[in-house]
């Protein structure tokens, strides 16, 4: 195992999909581990955090963690009630996520561990739990530096920019990219000529901002839940079509794109087909971008 690495522990969105037809890609929901010299940063706490927690409890030398939550939709927090390190006294777990106050963040995590939905509450967590002030604009965990920004998804949802060693990793588990572009195109014929020019400028400015958030990332992990066919009926659900994501990553000069937050309906064969389509886009655009399917257990060295 590399000294510093990124590992996918859960790559599904919406709900866990532990079906025999899904095992190559994996069925756990969102969870990514970034480990730099035994400093462990965890992105999201879907069901994927459960096996991660079991391994940490058995093997980890450094018992202080930082868990970044992109938002509180249950597929991103549902692993926490079963996260073993939280129940062990000599662990120290820091949480950061959207919110106005530490109390609000705590309340959001407490809520899923309350009767009748769960038999015990977070008062049974025996680890030292710390909620990082949500007003902090920059964070660090050991040598890892983190910043964040709002993305296009229901509620306040963050994308995280993580500097780990020499790599810049952007983690955007849930985002509907280029939403404004489609809204404008849908309504363009309703506007005057002057308005059309202004809205094209608005769109260009918005897209430029979106590009800057991921510009030249070494690793982009991005929501790619939908096919173009899905997206025709699911526009406005807060997730991206993989075609838009690949083009977005190319336009931003990203080096390696990991398609993430896979739709639980898509089995391994369907995701293979998505991958082939992505390779076609890469060829059409003659790009140096490398595109990958994020799958459980995939480990990327960061050294």
């Amino acid at each position: 195992m590399a000294k510093s690495y990124l590992r996918f522990w859960g790559v599904r969105g919406s709900y866990a999909a532990p079906f025999p037809t899904h095992l190559k890609v994996g069925g756990n929901t969102s969870c990514v581990e970034v480990n730099v010299d035994d400093h462990v940063l965890i992105c999201d706490a879907g069901t994927g955090i459960i096996p991660l927690g079991n391994r940490l409890a058995a093997e980890a030398k450094n018992k202080e963690l930082l868990i970044l939550l992109t938002h509180y939709h249950w597929d991103h927090i549902c692993g926490l009630p079963f996260f073993v390190p939280a129940f062990i006294p000599d662990w120290h777990i820091n949480f950061f996520g959207p919110g106005e106050s530490i109390q609000e963040m705590k309340q959001k995590l407490d809520s899923q561990m309350q009767a009748p939905y769960f038999p015990v509450g977070t008062e049974t967590w025996m680890a030292k739990i710390n909620y990082v002030n949500p007003r902090e604009t920059k964070l660090s965990h050991g040598p890892i530096e983190i910043s964040y920004y709002s993305v296009h998804h229901p509620g306040v949802t963050y994308g995280y920019k993580i500097k780990a060693g020499s790599k810049t990793i952007i983690y955007v588990s849930d985002n509907e990219c280029q939403f404004l572009d489609k809204s404008i195109k849908q309504k363009m014929t309703e506007f005057s000529e002057e308005e059309q020019i202004m809205f094209e400028d608005m769109n260009r400015e918005e897209y430029e901002y979106e590009l800057e958030t991921i510009r030249a990332a070494d690793i982009l992990i991005h929501d790619a839940q939908y096919t173009p066919e899905d997206y025709e009926t699911k526009r406005g659900w807060g997730h991206s079509c993989y075609v838009d994501v690949v083009n977005y990553a190319i336009d931003a000069g990203v080096k390696d794109l990991y398609l993430y937050h896979h739709d639980p309906y898509n089995d391994d064969n369907a995701i293979d087909k998505i991958y082939e389509k992505c390779l076609e886009i890469l060829q059409e655009r003659d790009t140096s971008l490398r595109c990958h399917i994020a799958r459980e257990g995939l480990e990327i060295p960061l050294d």
Partner: protein, 130 residues
């Protein structure tokens, strides 16, 4: 002696949106003040209550719903008339905006005539939030 001019504030990081508001209100008798970030707007709003406040949601420094929640904690802005104007069109955001007392939730792109009509309707009426 007539009424003093109404003040409308727009907070949006997109320069074209701010220009759109300026263009949309050229023929209206009001003062339009725009800011590109929540932080910049807070310096003004800390001491001033506009007749109408438009807030974008996704902004680089702080999102508009978090900003609105903070504003509502200030006595000066408990009942400030607020309209969200955003590219986001999600029920969850509408619900939160509603709970924070936003009068309307408008999605971009918004034509100029619609912007001027909304402003005219709201600043010529009593604040329905009261």
């Amino acid at each position: 002696m007539g009424d003093s001019k109404k003040t409308v504030v727009v907070v949006d990081d997109n320069a074209t949106v701010r220009a759109l508001f300026e263009r949309s209100t050229e023929d209206l008798t009001l003062d339009l003040i725009s800011f590109s970030s929540a932080e910049a707007a807070m310096e003004y709003l800390g001491e001033n209550k506009p007749d109408l406040l438009f807030l974008d949601i996704i902004m680089p420094d702080k999102d508009g719903l978090t900003f609105l929640s903070e504003l509502r904690k200030l006595p000066l802005h408990r009942d400030t008339a607020v309209i969200m104007i955003t590219s986001k069109d999600y029920a969850q955001d509408r619900t939160v905006a509603n709970e924070l007392g936003a009068l309307e939730f408008i999605t971009k792109p918004m034509p100029m005539r619609a912007i001027s009509d909304i402003i005219t309707n709201h600043i010529n009426n009593d604040n329905p939030y009261n």
